[in-house]
Symmetry: C2
Subunit: 219 residues, 2 copies
């Protein structure tokens, strides 16, 4: 095989691993939300236990990115291809951490009846899941428009967060006995909001990959 | 200059930039805490405005790391030296983001009289500042013991967080009129707690740099 086709083969393997990481992350956020809705402590614990495999995969991707740069000395766009893979692996790892954060809060409140029906949180979670998919699609297809469309979804996530936060604050003011649980529900919304921020970082990485310019989306 | 001394010169410049980033981060967390204690909205806004220079420096460090790997093809320990510089620059950037988070919460509550005297939050902040210094020292001196000592401080940070969280929860339960402010004070403590986590990641990076092993400190 030529050096060039070695490079492309290694890049493809990296991209497959990012897709795998992405599907783990989607699963983590979807299961932690299911654990929240079903008040399922055991499922929440499973999400937390699964986080290890994402961390290991991220370290593996990171090391292969470095070695690939050292061995192939790619420049310009090719270099950005690898650095983007590396960056995206980091963002996915942080997104998985946020999913774990949700699961940890779920474990703290799963045994109490909920003080309100959770409507906006699962919506927020499904927008987040959509963002992971769109972000990885935008990366693989180097599609800036899709990346920007994805980062626009972060406005929805932010709006939902504010809504949930204010709702829960009002609820606490009316009935202080719910404070403990409401605080955890605020934390959960906040983890999802951070999740959206990391997804937006993926969109920014796609713009950098294609154009070589750093541009802040949704500052 | 030989290739080898080029490498060392480039590495030194990277390290100087990390020190500069570290001093910006220390300043950010120290000023945002001062803004909190003095109820100084303007100072909080300044911390937020200063964040740009840290982001720019991080991007610059990142690009130089990649080019250095491509040009010099370092292997083993030398490769880890660069990848560690890269990772640490990212952690510092996230720590600065957490300092900004503190500043943003300060802006939301600076105009109200505080519901309690803030004792533990400034202590938490000063432990965090100490962690930045120790982490960068441990990195420069490749001192694993110092890195582990630093990551032990994260236990103090976590304990302070729990203390602050429980205090504020009790306060809200007693007097629901403080809920709004107390929630922001919990967020501030949480940003500091995240700050400590990123500092611990720096300690883990030092262990990886020296030993080549990934080890989770304070899991």
């Amino acid at each position: 095989m030529s050096v060039r086709s070695d490079f492309h083969h290694a890049l493809e393997t990296l991209q497959q691993d990012l897709l795998r990481m992405g599907s783990y992350v989607e699963e983590a956020i979807s299961l932690s939300t299911k654990a929240l809705l079903d008040q399922d402590r055991q499922l929440a614990s499973q999400v937390i236990a699964n986080d290890d495999r994402i961390d290991r995969l991220q370290h593996d991707v990171e090391e292969r990115c470095m070695k690939l740069i050292a061995l192939q000395q790619p420049m310009a766009k090719d270099l950005r291809k690898i650095s983007s893979a590396w960056r995206i692996s980091l963002e996915l790892e942080r997104m998985a951490d946020n999913a774990c954060g949700v699961a940890k809060s779920v474990r703290r409140i799963a045994e109490q009846p909920y003080v309100k029906t959770l409507v906006n949180t699962p919506i927020m979670s499904s927008v987040c899941q959509q963002m992971v998919k769109m972000g990885l699609d935008a990366y693989l297809q180097e599609d800036i428009e899709l990346a920007i469309k994805m980062s626009d979804l972060d406005n929805q996530v932010d709006a939902l967060y504010k809504h949930i936060f204010n709702d829960l604050l009002q609820l606490m003011l009316k009935d202080p006995s719910v404070i403990n649980q409401a605080t955890q529900l605020i934390f959960i919304a906040r983890y999802l909001e951070r999740f959206g921020d990391h997804a937006t970082n993926i969109a920014e990485t796609v713009v950098y990959l294609v154009t070589g310019e750093r541009k802040e989306l949704n500052p």
